[in-house]
Symmetry: C2
Subunit: 311 residues, 2 copies
């Protein structure tokens, strides 16, 4: 916290299902914070401006406080489409390209996502570009590989502050739909991630995913057979599903991106960070941690500076 400095900008991370609002002073320090489930899907019904203004009012923000937003609020189904910057995309330019919402008094801008338009591996990100920009190392010289676990995990190559290429693995979403909707639901008992990164079942599945990622869709059924034949416990079944998917992701990403120079920057915290750190370690890939919340907040503050909202 700063010593009584006034708010300089409101920073909003507005995802598909959740949003977070921070009030920041002109040094980027946190003066207030709100979290809500009013993500893009919900806010599209209520109205984005209405949702935002209510949170700002609760935080006591002035009527002319500028607002910088990243994430799905900038998608076609969002508040205003912020057209993608294309790879190779300089992070500074992406931030400076934030699009202003027209027709309202307050200065509200949305950071664009990044697209990769080549036909062989089309891909898109929205929100991750701001996290990347918030990791100081990535704005400096050198080539880095970043792993951003999540519903749609991203692996990103950044060279001298420029996003040169990236890929998305549907790891988190596949875990969720397979655990909830497939025959494996009978083996997983709800599918909660009720295991630790030190689970032997997770470690074993990671090794299998790393060594033979092509066998994924077959090994998945082995979880069901394992619970029928060997009474595989539900938490071990969940650990196996997670391990196979994460191990397979790491095996596939390391083939696609040059991994092995500087350590992979692993963006996350809590269990998800631990699981990926364990998997990277099993693959012999060195990694360093970057906190996701901090990264997006720093990135939003950088964007506010690039747009001239904060001086």
């Amino acid at each position: 916290m700063s010593d009584g400095a006034p708010p300089a900008v409101a920073a909003v991370d507005w995802g598909t299902t959740r949003m977070r609002v921070w009030l920041l002073d002109n040094g980027g320090n946190i003066l207030g914070e709100r979290r809500s489930d009013e993500g893009m899907l919900s806010a599209a019904g209520t109205g984005f401006e209405k949702v935002l203004e209510r949170h700002l009012a609760e935080l006591g923000a002035a009527r002319d406080l500028p607002v910088i937003i990243c994430g799905m609020a900038g998608a076609r189904q969002g508040w205003l489409e912020a057209p993608y910057a294309q790879t190779p995309a300089a992070l500074g330019e992406v931030l400076a390209g934030a699009v202003r919402i027209p027709g309202i008094a307050r200065d509200v801008r949305i950071v664009p996502g990044i697209s990769q338009n080549d036909k062989a591996s089309p891909d898109v990100m929205r929100g991750e570009e701001t996290q990347l920009a918030g990791i100081g190392t990535l704005r400096g010289p050198g080539t880095h590989t970043v792993c951003m676990p999540g519903t749609h995990s991203k692996w990103v190559q950044v060279s001298d502050g420029v996003v040169s290429g990236f890929g998305t693995w549907m790891t988190g979403e596949l875990y969720s739909v397979i655990a909830r909707e497939s025959v494996l639901k009978h083996s997983l008992g709800g599918g909660a991630l009720a295991f630790s990164s030190r689970s032997e079942a997770f470690a074993e599945a990671v090794r299998e995913g790393l060594s033979d990622p092509a066998a994924l869709t077959s090994r998945l059924f082995g979880i069901r057979a394992g619970s029928l034949l060997h009474k595989l416990a539900s938490q071990d079944a969940a650990a196996r599903l997670s391990g196979l998917l994460i191990g397979g992701e790491v095996a596939s990403a390391r083939l696609r991106f040059s991994v092995g120079g500087s350590p992979v920057i692993l963006v996350g915290s809590g269990l998800m960070y631990d699981l990926y750190a364990t998997a990277l370690d099993a693959a012999g890939i060195a990694s360093t941690q970057a906190d996701a919340d901090e990264a997006v907040r720093h990135g939003l503050f950088e964007a506010a500076k690039h747009c001239g909202m904060v001086h």
Copy 2:
């Protein structure tokens, strides 16, 4: 149809969501047939005996006509658990091991499934063993690989009438849950298999699945990105999802089973057969067709003979 021969046995293929009943004479010829949605899940509520007797009555079957059943009716959640035969499993012995339902007057027996109990690749089948037994080639000498597409695709190695090993790929179920429940639903528009096996999008995705099966969970997201960036049509998106999954299955199965001696026996009909035949062809694997309905009916009739129900 035979010339007025009386029914010798009723043959029932009783799966998870559907059932079929045939009246057969002592040459295995069809005298009557019924299909229904009263699969195991539904019949477990209504009562298996009640459902069966109603269909037999509709077909005019005598009260003492014996009945042979295969499929999920023999699962733990089914009518009566028919414990798995274990690999290596001689098909003739599996059929002869059909379990009689106790406590009812009619002679009703359920063919057991087959399990593969090794810890590295635990697996189970119920119903497919009867299809396998119904394919004449497989009861004779020689080593054959069988591909049985479906919700849970099976690849089976059969040597001299003995199932030596098999694997399950969750191809059909993954297609369905990903098309209905994941972010790809926005790209697939319902997810119906509204494309032909001659679709160029399918062929291209099969080639990608065959050459780089490890990249599956990443290429899946490429379907979403492709529809956002390149306006990929929904039928092409569906064809890509199917092609990636089937191509990946074939790539993985060929690594696990010796494919290349005699042609793979591909069990199926209609679009599903065409899609797999196209994928096997793209992989340079020769195949011959076996009809799934005919195979299960022949297998059930063989089981009735092995159990002494038909002479």
